[in-house]
Symmetry: C2
Amino acid sequence: MNFCSHCGAGDLDLRIPEGDTLPRFVCPRCATIHYQNPKIVTGCLPVWEDRILLCRRAIEPRYGLWTLPAGFLENAETLVDGALRETQEEAHARVDIGELYTVISLPQINQVYMMFRSRLTDVDFGPGTESLEVRLFDESEIPWEQLAFRTIARTLRNFFLDRRLGRFSLHVSSIERRAPLPPDLLAAG
Amino acid sequence: MNFCSHCGAGDLDLRIPEGDTLPRFVCPRCATIHYQNPKIVTGCLPVWEDRILLCRRAIEPRYGLWTLPAGFLENAETLVDGALRETQEEAHARVDIGELYTVISLPQINQVYMMFRSRLTDVDFGPGTESLEVRLFDESEIPWEQLAFRTIARTLRNFFLDRRLGRFSLHVSSIERRAPLPPDLLAAG
């Protein structure tokens, strides 16, 4: 953020506004406070009989790796509407959205994943413009080493464990990246 | 949004970028696409024995009305960290955060509420700068007509119903405002 999106002034201050507790970009001319907040990624885990639908990404980041249908919640959408839209866009698939299943905070990248269990209503699916390939996997076929995101691996791992236990429950967690190596260790590497 | 926050250009285009499906503000000079997405409100329902802690708002909107401790999730925070922070700021209270309890999409105002059940660890609480008053209410005392938000009323209603049933479960829902009256009806009113 270099300029005020309200009045166009440059030289934004990064300071704690009066009555606030965190530094914000504040416009020196019109005094607009520019808040920045985490985004929600909404999506689903589509099931057909005992198989799961995955999409192979045709876009960065993680081009070529496998993921569940999911993407940023848009303004004016509910979580369920967003999950349905992403599933349609990425896999041309229709699902009945079931229970909210994993909620994963990613504080380092300012995202919260919210994944629903769902049932495919038919197997007439195929890659959208953001996917190279879409297919059903049974548990033994899941490409664990080729998954795009740790949130997706965690959601799938929970699912197969819960399915074995015969009982699905909500999983709320967070993933905090390991601290980066200090520069002297990096240089030594 | 009147100016590009990246390069300061005015005359932003509101158009659907290539490969996208929704209109975005796009900078005609540096081509930055400015996405706007819903915000998360994270908070909790603090319980002490059979009573609930509520805060009376010292800020707009809904000055003077009662609410549960909750506020916008900040960058670099987990949902639980945000709920703890808001509870400390608004009620100077410490809680053990329990299960995620209500998730409510508010598509008309681009928010998603995420409220956790929690237990006060002590009764040494009091109003923060955003509260006029903080106190414990038993069910019969809840000021239903003086609650600040429908999300708060829904969360409390679910809680008292579930408590009576002896079983708490996650509630995922949305609140969509009634469509506004058409202008001719408004004029007639």
